[in-house]
C-alpha cells in the first residue's frame, strides 16, 4: 500500500516535471531568449506571491477544508502595511503588523469553521468579499508607493551577482520550512490525519479543533508573507491587490497533486505546479495571448488536474480491490489444501 502510494506520488510529480519540460520546449520555439539562465531564474518572480499563498492553502486543503479568501487577506495586509508605514513608522514595524493582521484574519476563518462548525466553503466565500471590502474601506485611493528599497527588494531585488531574484529565494526557503513542518513534524501528521478522517482523528486523541484552526492561521500568515513580496514586486499598496489571483492559487494546489478531498499531498508537488503555471503564463504572453484567454487554459488545467487525480485514484482503488480479491482466493486455496492435507 505504502509502495503504491509512493509510486503514485513519484508519477504525479514526474508528470509535472515532464509538463514543465514540454511547455519549456514550446516557449523556446516562441522565443530564443527563453532558454537563458537569466530568464529561467526570473520566470517565476511575478508569480511568487501566488506561490506563497498556494503553500498556505496546501495546509488547508490537506486538512479537507478550503480557503478562497487568501487573496483578500493579502489585500488587507498590504493596505494595512501601506497605511501604517505612511504615518512615519519603520517599514519593518508596519510589515510585522500586516503579518499579524493577516494571521488574525486567517484565524478568524478558522474560528468560524472549527469552533462554530460552519462549512469552510460558505465562510471563506463570505470573508472573500468581506475582507476585500475591508481593504477598500481602510484605503481606497492610490496606494502608497514610496517603500524603501530595503523592503521592496523582497519582491524585486536580486542577489549573487544580480542574477538570483530574492523572491525566488524567499519562496524556496519558505517551501523548505513549510515542507519540514508538514512532512517531518507531529503537527504535520495531525493535519493529514484530520484530512483523512476527522472522526478517526478525534478518537485517536488529536486536538482536531486546534489543528483545523491552525491550518487557517497558516493560510492567513502565508497570505501576509505573500503581501510582502507583492508590495516589493509591484511597488505599491492598493486595495485591489491580487484580485483575480484565486484561480492560479487554487490551480497550483490542485495541480500540485494535493487531494481536493483532503488527506494527501506534498509541498514539492505544489512548488512544481507553481513553476509550471508561471512558465505556462510566460509562454502564453510570448504568444500574445491575453490574460482572460489565458484563464481559459489555467481553468481547464485546474479541472483536468482534479479529473486526472480522481481517475488515478479510482484505478488505484480498483487495482487494490483486485489484488485483495486475488490474495483472498489464494488464502482460500491454501486453507483448503491444508484442510485436505489434515484429513
Amino acid at each position: 500500500m505504502k509502495r503504491v502510494a509512493a509510486a503514485l506520488l513519484l508519477r504525479w510529480e514526474s508528470v509535472l516535471v515532464l509538463l514543465i519540460i514540454a511547455v519549456g520546449l514550446w516557449c523556446r520555439s516562441l522565443s530564443p531568449l527563453f532558454l537563458t539562465k537569466l530568464n529561467l531564474l526570473d520566470l517565476a518572480t511575478p508569480y511568487i506571491f501566488v506561490g506563497l499563498m498556494a503553500l498556505g492553502l496546501t495546509f488547508v486543503v490537506i486538512a479537507a477544508e478550503i480557503d478562497i479568501s487568501v487573496a483578500s487577506i493579502l489585500a488587507v495586509s498590504v493596505v494595512v502595511i501601506g497605511q501604517i508605514y505612511e504615518t512615519g513608522t519603520s517599514i519593518w514595524f508596519a510589515a510585522t503588523v500586516g503579518l499579524l493582521v493577516a494571521t488574525a484574519l486567517g484565524l478568524f476563518n478558522g474560528f468560524l469553521v472549527a469552533a462554530l462548525a460552519l462549512p469552510s466553503l460558505a465562510v471563506t466565500l463570505g470573508t472573500l468579499a468581506a475582507y476585500r471590502g475591508l481593504a477598500f474601506l481602510i484605503h481606497s485611493g492610490e496606494g502608497v508607493a514610496t517603500f524603501p528599497t530595503g523592503f521592496t527588494n523582497i519582491g524585486i531585488g536580486y542577489v549573487w551577482g544580480q542574477q538570483v531574484p530574492v523572491a525566488l529565494l524567499v519562496f524556496v526557503g519558505t517551501a523548505i520550512g513549510l515542507g519540514f513542518l508538514l512532512h517531518a513534524t507531529r503537527f504535520g501528521r495531525y493535519i493529514y490525519a484530520v484530512g483523512s478522517s476527522r472522526e478517526a482523528a478525534r478518537y485517536s486523541g488529536i486536538p482536531v479543533t486546534s489543528v483545523r484552526m491552525a491550518v487557517f492561521g497558516i493560510s492567513g500568515f502565508m497570505a501576509g508573507v505573500a503581501g510582502f513580496v507583492y508590495i516589493g514586486f509591484f511597488g505599491s499598496s492598493r486595495a485591489d491587490a491580487a484580485d483575480g489571483s484565486l484561480l492560479d492559487v487554487v490551480t497550483a494546489v490542485v495541480l500540485g497533486g494535493v487531494d481536493i478531498f483532503g488527506g494527501s499531498g506534498s509541498i514539492v508537488g505544489v512548488v512544481l505546479a507553481v513553476f509550471l503555471i508561471a512558465e505556462l503564463r510566460n509562454g502564453m504572453q510570448l504568444d500574445n495571448i491575453g490574460g482572460d484567454t489565458q484563464n481559459i487554459v489555467i481553468g481547464c488545467l485546474l479541472l483536468g488536474a482534479i479529473l486526472a487525480g480522481n481517475g488515478i485514484r479510482a484505478l488505484q482503488a480498483s487495482g487494490l480491490r483486485q489484488r485483495l480479491a486475488r490474495a483472498r482466493k489464494k488464502e482460500v486455496v491454501r486453507t483448503k489444501g491444508q484442510a485436505e492435507g489434515i484429513s
Partner: protein
C-alpha cells in the same frame, strides 16, 4: 399516540424557527428601508422603487436557480460569467438581426445557459469535482470565452431595438416588465420545489445524499438538473441584464454570483443543503437589492456593497448554524425526556402486571 405528539412537537418547533427566520428578513428589510428613507431624499419615491424592482428581478432570478443548487448541498459560482456571456450574445444577436422575435432570443440565452449549467453538473457529478472548485474553474473559463467572443467590442444601446429596451422601461400595472418575469420565475420555482416530486428530491439529496441514494433517488441526475436549472436561469438573467443595462461588454455581470449567494443565504437556504425556500431566497434578493440601491443613493462607494455582501453571508451562515444547533439540541433533549417517560410508564405497567401474579 406518543410518537404522534412527538412529531407534532418537532414540527411546530421547526416551523416556529422558520417563521422567525422569515420575520427576521422582514425586520431587516424594514430597518433598511427606514434607514435609507431617513438618510436619502429620493429613496421613498415610486421611480426609485421601480428601479429597485428591476435590480431585484435579475438577482431574484439568479437566486431561484442558486436555491436549487444550494439545496442539493452544492454551490454555483459561475453564474456571473454565464450572465455576462448570455447578455452579450443576446444583445449582439438582436443588434445584428433587428427583426428577431424576443422569444427566440430568450430561447437562445436560456439554451446557452442550460448548456453551460450542464457542463458544471457533469464536472460535479461525473467528474466528482467539489462544486466550489468546479465552478471557480468554469467562472474563469466562461469569462475567458466571453473575452474571446467580444474581442474588445461592446454592444451599445442605440444598436438595440426599442421593444427590447422596453422590457426595463415599460411598467405594466406599475411594475417593470422584468420584475413580472422574475415574479413568474419565482412562482414556478416555488411550486416546483413545493409540489413536484423532482423538486422534493432536491431536499432529500441535500439532507442526506446517501439516504437519498438508498431511497432510490437518482442523486447524480438530480444534482445535474439543479446545475442546469441554475445555468438556464442565469441565461434568462443574462437576457434581462442586457435589457436593463442596454450596453454590454466583456466584464458584464462580474461578481453577480455574490449577490445571488448572499440573497440565498440571507433568505435562509441552509448552506449544508436540504432546507430553504424560494420565497426566502426572493426576500433575500429584495433585501440585497434594496440595500445596494440605498448605498448608491447615499453615494457610498462600490466597496461598501462588497463589504455588505461578505459580512451578510458570514453573519447569516453563523446565525443559522447556531440556531440549527440549538434546535437540534432542544429536539434531542425533548426526545430523551419522552423516552425516559415512556420507559418509566412501561416499567410501571410491567410492575402492575407483576403484582397480581
Amino acid at each position: 399516540m406518543n410518537l404522534g405528539s412527538r412529531m407534532v412537537g418537532a414540527n411546530t418547533l421547526a416551523q416556529a424557527a422558520f417563521r422567525l427566520r422569515e420575520a427576521g428578513i422582514f425586520i431587516a428589510l424594514a430597518v433598511a428601508v427606514l434607514f435609507f428613507w431617513a438618510r436619502a431624499d429620493n429613496f421613498m419615491t415610486v421611480s426609485n422603487w421601480q428601479n429597485i424592482a428591476t435590480d431585484v428581478a435579475i438577482v431574484a432570478v439568479l437566486a431561484v436557480g442558486q436555491t436549487m443548487v444550494v439545496l442539493t448541498r452544492n454551490i454555483d459560482l459561475s453564474v456571473g460569467s454565464i450572465v455576462g456571456l448570455t447578455a452579450y450574445i443576446s444583445s449582439d444577436t438582436l443588434a445584428k438581426h433587428q427583426g428577431l422575435p424576443l422569444g427566440a432570443v430568450v430561447l437562445i440565452a436560456v439554451a446557452i445557459g442550460l448548456g453551460l449549467g450542464l457542463v458544471n453538473g457533469l464536472l460535479v457529478t461525473v467528474g466528482r469535482i467539489p462544486a466550489i472548485i468546479a465552478t471557480i474553474g468554469t467562472l474563469a473559463i466562461y469569462r475567458g470565452l466571453l473575452f474571446e467572443i467580444t474581442n474588445g467590442k461592446n454592444v451599445l444601446a442605440f444598436q438595440l431595438p426599442e421593444r427590447f429596451l422596453d422590457l426595463a422601461a415599460k411598467k405594466p400595472l406599475g411594475l417593470p416588465t422584468l420584475a413580472w418575469i422574475a415574479l413568474v420565475v419565482g412562482v414556478i420555482g416555488a411550486a416546483f420545489l413545493r409540489w413536484s416530486p423532482w423538486g422534493r428530491d432536491f431536499y432529500a439529496v441535500g439532507s442526506n445524499p446517501d439516504a437519498a441514494r438508498f431511497a432510490g433517488i437518482p442523486v447524480g441526475r438530480r444534482v445535474m438538473s439543479a446545475f442546469m436549472i441554475s445555468g438556464g436561469l442565469a441565461g434568462l438573467a443574462g437576457f434581462m441584464f442586457a435589457a436593463r443595462f442596454a450596453s454590454v461588454d466583456a466584464v458584464a455581470g462580474t461578481n453577480l454570483e455574490f449577490d445571488a449567494v448572499t440573497a440565498v443565504v440571507i433568505g435562509g437556504v441552509n448552506v449544508f443543503g436540504g432546507s430553504g425556500t424560494v420565497l426566502g431566497a426572493v426576500l433575500g434578493a429584495v433585501l440585497v437589492a434594496t440595500i445596494q440601491d440605498g448605498f448608491t443613493l447615499l453615494k457610498l462607494s462600490e466597496f461598501w456593497k462588497i463589504f455588505f455582501n461578505g459580512t451578510a453571508i458570514v453573519v447569516a451562515v453563523t446565525i443559522d448554524a447556531l440556531v440549527t444547533q440549538r434546535l437540534q439540541e432542544a429536539l434531542r433533549r425533548r426526545r430523551r425526556a419522552e423516552i425516559v417517560a415512556a420507559r418509566e410508564q412501561a416499567g410501571a405497567t410491567a410492575r402492575e402486571r407483576e403484582v397480581p401474579t
